[in-house]
């Protein structure tokens, strides 16, 4: 590897870069930008839920012809919910989270000069960019963007007669997602190959930091499940545009019988959730990997049960591909299948519980360094448990009957996947910002950001369980049609206020992030006194990561506070002492 001397222009350095560090930053900034849109949308539709008839100038300002005197239309309400979900799950927490940190950390932590294919990596980012662009463009078309929910179940998503967003808006959604899938497949293949082939001398699989294990397994899940979503989307495109009947049958709408015959929407549900469930782990596992690394570093203690952590990542990955039916207990699917999926779903709770216990044990008798990244990691463990436990209700087919598609579900998945993964992402940004930008983020702002977010997140999502248990369905434009729900109106106001608080708190993060890039304190080489390889590279980015030879790895990544050493950390490149045992 000596080709890192060629001259770089602005374009090759900042735009069409093939350097994984730059691509990682591109992912992050694009993800943050999409996140702003997604969170802002949730504020808008929360206004409508809390004060259904009230006029808001902010709605008037942003929703154009989709509002009347500051009150949004039911169609655009559904569109906002749909695009909010799509953006948060795919654009922020899949591409923004995984794309950023897999790209940054895989080469740096395994000791490689770059990804296996820098070119494909660049293509992957630009496809992601293109798909983001299409998704954003779809917000501005006349009939409004896709509005059949992020799950885009047909026939609603197939028939513009059924909802206006299923016209051009849905087409753009599908094209955007198809490109997105291509992007994430390229990315994932690259990650897998890199981890398998480019590890430095001594970096055995059993010495990999848990971040890398998480990214690696996540990439494998992605390769297995994303193509299925692609085929589901393609068949939907056929039904929409070429008159096939994969998902449609016996439909009478607006006074007219459609020609479709013999298809089944339930088929779509199977295909969708075959990706959809693994997707929540695609979102979550990288966040858990990041947390493992940060909790260990900041506890100044080895991660507890390293091998059990790897085992549970693998078990979760495997099981995640055979639990999709728990989203379909009341879809009309054979009840026997429901029993099977209940069984597999409750199985997956075991490795998840092991992970949670191991995090808690890692804190025990630690010497906790309360950096902002650490706060977010502890926060993650808390929301992961709170959200995970209600999974026992939803994963039990019998119990799911009455809470399926209510706000109870919204509360559950936001805590376990939404908030947890977002916390993981924030933790990662605070922790590796010095590696990405050579500067430090301000910690005081970090503290404010964490505590306001933590209070707001529970303030939003904890009460939501109760309105769900009161029987309130999700995706309702307003609850005023049911006197039965008059008593949840107050709760909805509280939730919305907390949501506004939480959303506003992110401004602190944005300010901290962007100002620190330019004005932050210059970073030291190893600010958190960490063991892993990325901190052996120079602060100033260079092509190829290490100026000379790539260092060889001598031990695992978690020798914190190891007896027999002066310092409370021992870098992976430090040789084992005579007679020293590797953990």
């Amino acid at each position: 590897m000596s080709d890192h001397h060629h001259k770089e222009t602005f374009v090759t350095k900042y735009i069409f870069s093939t350097d994984h560090k730059m691509i990682s930053k591109q992912y992050l900034v694009t993800g943050i930008f999409m996140g702003i849109i997604g969170v802002f949308m949730s504020m808008l539709f929360r206004l409508q839920i809390a004060w259904p008839e009230r006029s808001f100038s902010i709605i008037e300002a942003f929703l154009g012809h989709h509002q009347d005197g500051g009150v949004m239309s039911p169609d655009i309400y559904l569109a906002l919910v749909t695009i909010h979900g799509t953006i948060m799950v795919f654009f922020v927490l899949t591409a923004g989270l995984s794309g950023t940190f897999s790209n940054l950390l895989i080469p740096l932590q395994i000791g490689a000069r770059d990804m296996a294919s820098g070119f494909l990596n660049m293509v992957s980012y630009w496809l992601f960019f293109l798909s983001s662009l299409l998704m954003v463009i779809s917000l501005f078309i006349e009939a409004g963007p896709a509005s059949a929910g992020w799950t885009i179940y047909p026939p609603l998503s197939a028939l513009p007669q059924a909802i206006p967003g299923s016209g051009l808006g849905m087409t753009l959604w599908l094209v955007s997602m198809a490109i997105f899938i291509a992007s994430s497949l390229l990315g994932a293949l690259n990650y897998i190959v890199t981890v398998l082939n480019l590890r430095t001398v001594g970096m055995k699989m059993t010495r990999l930091p848990l971040t890398i294990w998480a990214f690696f397994i996540t990439a494998i899940i992605g390769v297995v499940s994303f193509p299925v979503l692609l085929s589901a989307a393609l068949l939907l495109i056929f039904d929409r545009s070429f008159g096939t009947s994969f998902y449609l049958s016996d439909i009478f709408i607006q006074g007219e019988v459609l020609h479709y015959q013999g298809g089944s929407p339930v088929l779509f549900e199977h295909l969708f959730w075959f990706l959809g469930h693994p997707e929540v782990y695609i979102v979550l596992l990288p966040a858990l990997g990041i947390t493992s690394e940060i909790i260990s570093t900041n506890s100044r203690k080895p991660i507890f049960g390293y091998r059990a952590m790897i085992g549970s990542i693998i078990a979760i990955a495997f099981l995640s591909t055979i639990v999709w039916g728990h989203h379909m207990f009341v879809s009309g699917m054979n009840p026997f299948l429901g029993s099977v999926f209940t069984f597999t779903t409750l199985l997956i709770a075991i490795p998840s519980a092991v992970k949670a216990f191991n995090y808690i044990t890692t804190l025990w008798k630690g010497n906790l360094q309360m950096n902002p990244a650490m706060l977010f990691s502890i926060g993650l463990v808390s929301t992961f448990i709170s959200g995970g436990l209600t999974g026992l209700v939803l994963g039990d087919s019998a119990l799911d009957i009455n809470v399926h598609d209510t706000y109870f579900v919204v509360a559950h998945f936001h805590l376990v996947m939404g908030v947890s993964a977002i916390y993981g992402m924030f933790a990662g940004v605070y922790h590796w910002f010095p590696k990405m930008y050579g500067k430090m983020m301000n910690k005081t702002l970090g503290y404010w950001h964490f505590w306001l977010t933590a209070v707001a997140a529970y303030g939003v999502f904890f009460p939501m369980h109760f309105i769900g248990l009161a029987g309130l369905p999700r995706r309702y434009y307003s609850n005023t049609a049911f006197p039965l729900f008059d008593d949840v109106a107050d709760v909805n106001i509280v939730i919305t206020l907390f949501a506004i608080l939480g959303g506003s708190a992110q401004i602190i993060f944005l300010a901290n992030f962007f100002i620190s890039i330019y004005k932050g304190k210059k970073a030291e080489q190893n600010p958190w006194r960490s063991n892993t390889l990325e901190w052996t590279t120079p602060v100033e980015h260079i092509h190829g990561n290490w100026p000379g030879e790539i260092p060889a790895v001598q031990r695992w990544a978690y020798d914190y506070s190891k007896p027999g050493y002066e310092e409370d950390f021992v870098c992976q490149t430090t040789p084992l002492k005579e007679g020293e045992e590797e953990s």
Binding site: F252, G366, D396, L484
Partner: protein, 335 residues
Amino acid sequence: MTALLYILLAIVIAVAIWQVASILKLKSVIATEKDNNIQGILFAVFGVFFYGLMIFSFVKYSALLLPDAASLEGERYDTLYMVTMVLILVVQAITQFLLFYFAFKYRGVKGTKALFYADSHKLELIWTVIPAVVLAGMVLYGLSVWIDVMDSSDAENPLIVEVYAKQFQWEARYAGKDNELGLANVRNIKGINTMGVDMSDKNALDDIPVRELHLPKGRKVIFKFRSQDVLHSAYMPHFRAQMNCVPGMVTQFAFTPSMTTEEMRLNEKTIAKVDNINEIRAEKGEDPYEFDYLLLCNKICGASHYNMQMKIVVEEEAQFNSWLNSQKTMAQVVQ
């Protein structure tokens, strides 16, 4: 509560501006011992907030929950639900306590070292096996309820009712004297035959189309669901019942109503809930509300998804029969 949050919001914005202004000067970036101390204490405070929020929610919001189940199957559901909830809350209370307590207790002190403790097969075995055993119990219990609810093949003389969904309305059809639904397909929809019943099928003639669902107490009702356009979901929360309505397919769910509408109106929890609702309505100057069972749509189906409902009346068998006999059959309607 509301005012408090507004104040909180104002504080946030003020702090944000003030902090952002001072960031240029503040170059503190790595947690010091003082930070560890403060943040560790804040975790303890947050733990208190967290338990406070949980307890507050349970006290204040329990009144919002659905009243007692109004079906035999729903009663089993509620027991399973209680057992699961207690389990969840116990685990939640313990693990969150440990998490926040450790974050507080082991906040970093300069010059000390953490315990080097990387592994313990015994501990890991314990917390793999215990959840596994508990979950196995949950699976068995859950599945026994599930099979009980979903399998209605041995029901004696069940009432067969078709529930029919379309944007944005529910209809229903009783199987009539022969207790067998006539064939139907959307291609037969014409004029007043809004459910596409096949009038050439002799089973169809005595079917009874209705716009309001009446159910007899104590008799198993087997629902057959159809949809004419997009997915809908027939959600009857008071009976702990839900099933999607899928175009091109007939889906099924069954339960045995165990409380008439009148009885439910006299149920303690219902009275409390309705009183509460009526207080809120009175404040807004709206008419008082009287409890009724409802069928609501619970699958996104378009603009008026939020207002797709049908009233359900549960009554004694005799009353039910006389109501049903007063309805017109398909043959009479279509003529």
